[in-house]
Symmetry: C2
Subunit: 438 residues, 2 copies
């Protein structure tokens, strides 16, 4: 036997134990079932993409966090002579949006138009390790490509709300805004079009650093004082507690057709979504919603649930990303559930644990004596119990049965059957670790 | 707009279109359902592992095919000064067995004992690209860790057979052998224990290169002539058409307790599995079954289906791998379904396509006029149809409806509802591209 090998997962990555996998599977199945009922179809792309694609600028800050895969064989030898920048040719995807755009550009002739795509899968980011943040995590996205109509956002929002409600999240709030309206605010204040990105980044921090902080940061990042001052005077008009779409449009006071189009889309979406959301949920215009990524071009939206501060899902329209790969623009809009956050919420809900048990089935142990000569007979019993819908595991009886029974109960077994006890077999309950039976 | 970006997936990797994803999902769900009924529980490990673990020798030839991930930040700078061997610290897993062994070593205190693990997930190998072979593909493994009893192999074999039968594969044949019996043959011929690996590799080619080829290769790879000659005289005794376990044991003619233990395990497994397999399936001893990996220590087995030449699933007992990570040996045995091969078989079965449609549901389009002012009304209709179990997609009517209807049908829509046609809505069938309706 050689040196002991490393047994910890790589930094920031983790092993998932059976209980959590079963919860994740239930969440995935529920989400897939609801999204399919809205006509979305699951697609899959490889985990690896060409590094050139991943570093094309659509990924924002995430492009700095790519796990890069080294070239192989002869190509590596050549690359080593050329220096560090040439060593890698592939990278692990950092999101599902850039791969989706590439997928559509490559396969659109064979795909439905519009494509209603559902993706659930791992992404990788070499972030600084910290609590609750992982370097491999699951994303869950729906996107509609090829249709620039508010009907798309209506379906994205309703489907995602229904999926979250089916997972017993309640009191959902959908907040919605439009990048064209935000751009209208920026223009009305006098921020130049080339300064919009920087303006949005600071604006997005309003909840975190407050009005004063935002005004200060706008000054510090080199925006014109007149624009900052105009923006400060508009802050009341865009207070989410009191603002309406009308009051914001009045504050912008522009005849810009883009702003009008954004406002019309918001009106149509809100009208169609109101009343169709799950019971106890609501949609509202939020003039302060910005969302981070630079690629959004139209409606943007987030969903949060009662009792949980930050949002669980977010998305928006990005009509210009696919053009960079296909050569012509294709309207696109998507919604992404923060899957890891959802799972951590569900882990705290007792109802979720019950749902997992119901969905998975009752596990029982069929206990056989060690070295039993006849395995055919217990196998027959196990198969009969399985036909009755039980999950049956053949287990070999250990010397200390009491301890073995406690372990089985602790790992979720609901009952056991002793095959060799000289009487007709029957399923007996196992005491749960907390003293009850189940 | 800048240069068009690359839109092909990396060499040897592929995009999966919706139809195939739905087939893969059905296969996965069926397999998971059957394995769960046998008490297996799904676990997950990260896609990346420490390179040191992946290159520890348990992966055989696969260790040459690792996609290596470059170090990051300061560590990369230091590594660049040290040379090419230091540049990578992580690698993409090339199988699910090495990660499982690490997972067990790291988490065993929190896991059931024995652990009945189910893994379905992608693995990566930088193989030379060729038809039907991919650099990212799915593996589907079950393993029982912590129990060295033939009951384990009985469950592995029955569960896998039942899963394949549930996917409508018929005429399954389970072939089984034991590495201890194979070692008995090698010893009886006079091959040294250190030459066994090499002997097995050549022996494994019997079907491919025939008796003459095997004898020639054994000579050419430096085995003793006397051993090769003894082995040649035993070839009749191990002809799978006529050989029985008894005839092979007679030919070995050894009192080796390991051989006896192997034979006893085979007897027990075959007796318990016979009669419990799906209808039309059979199990038989195959003295020529070797299986490639060096880590097997006991029973080894494969399953093939009628009409398909090569096996669909393979596995065996490997009692000494986990010790290298945990510091003490843990009995282990597993069975792996060749998932990509299974999918390619299912794609040729008409019944599989029907099963996908049944499992997924009927898709209908609810067609709304472009620019419709009132989206709330069609949304209500869609939600009613969804409650009836239909998969309903809101679609915007294009100018050429005939062509749009043909496209919908070609992409699997079963029907459509026109919302704005002035009469009560109803679902109408879409003509299939082949002329029928569905």
């Amino acid at each position: 036997m050689t040196d002991k090998l490393p047994t910890t997962p790589p930094t920031g990555m983790r092993d998932v134990l059976p209980d959590e996998v079963e919860l994740r599977d239930l969440a995935t199945q529920t989400i897939v079932r609801i999204y399919r009922s809205y006509g979305f179809r699951r697609i899959e792309t490889p985990a690896l993409e060409h590094l050139r694609l991943l570093t094309s600028g659509e990924g924002g800050e995430n492009e700095k966090l790519i796990f890069k895969v080294m070239k192989r064989g002869e190509e590596l030898k050549t690359a080593l002579e050329r220096g560090a920048d040439e060593l890698a040719d592939l990278g692990l995807r950092f999101d599902l949006t850039v791969p989706l755009a590439r997928y559509y550009a490559h396969n659109h002739a064979r795909l439905p138009n519009p494509l209603k795509a559902l993706q659930i899968g791992p992404v990788w980011r070499a972030e600084r390790p910290q609590k609750g943040r992982f370097r491999q995590f699951t994303q869950c996205d729906i996107d509609v490509l090829g249709l620039g109509d508010p009907i798309v956002e209506v379906e994205l929002i309703l489907a995602t709300s229904e999926a979250l409600a089916a997972l017993s999240l309640s009191g959902l709030t959908v907040r919605i805004n439009d990048r064209r309206v935000l751009a209208g605010i920026a223009r009305a204040c006098g921020f130049g079009d080339d300064r919009q990105g920087s303006f949005f980044i600071t604006f997005d921090k309003l909840d975190k650093i407050g009005r004063g902080g935002v005004i200060q940061e706008l000054g510090a990042t080199g925006h014109e004082a007149a624009a900052v001052s105009k923006f400060e005077s508009m802050l009341d008009a865009i207070d989410p507690k009191t603002a309406t779409l009308d009051s914001v449009l009045k504050a912008i006071a522009s005849g810009d057709p883009d702003v009008a189009a954004g406002a019309a889309a918001l009106d149509a979406i809100i009208a169609a979504v109101t009343g169709a959301l799950p019971v106890g949920s609501a949609v509202r215009f939020d003039p302060r919603l910005v969302r981070g990524m630079g690629y959004y071009t139209g409606p943007i939206f987030e969903i949060s649930a009662a009792d949980y501060p930050s949002s669980i899902a977010g998305g928006g329209r990005y009509d210009r990303m696919i053009g960079r790969m296909l050569g012509r623009d294709v309207p696109a809009s998507g919604f992404s559930i923060g899957f890891e956050r959802l799972i951590s919420i569900l882990e705290g809900l007792p109802s979720a644990r019950v749902s997992v048990a119901t969905a998975t089935g009752e596990r029982v142990a069929l206990v056989v004596d060690a070295g039993a000569a006849d395995l055919a007979a217990p196998v027959r019993v196990a198969q009969r119990l399985r036909r009755d819908g039980l999950l049956v595991s053949l287990e070999v009886r250990r010397k200390n049965w009491k301890r073995q029974a406690d372990e089985l109960a602790a790992h979720g077994f609901a009952g056991w059957v002793s095959y060799n006890d000289g009487e007709p077999w029957r399923v007996r309950s196992l005491a749960r670790p907390d003293g009850g039976t189940r």
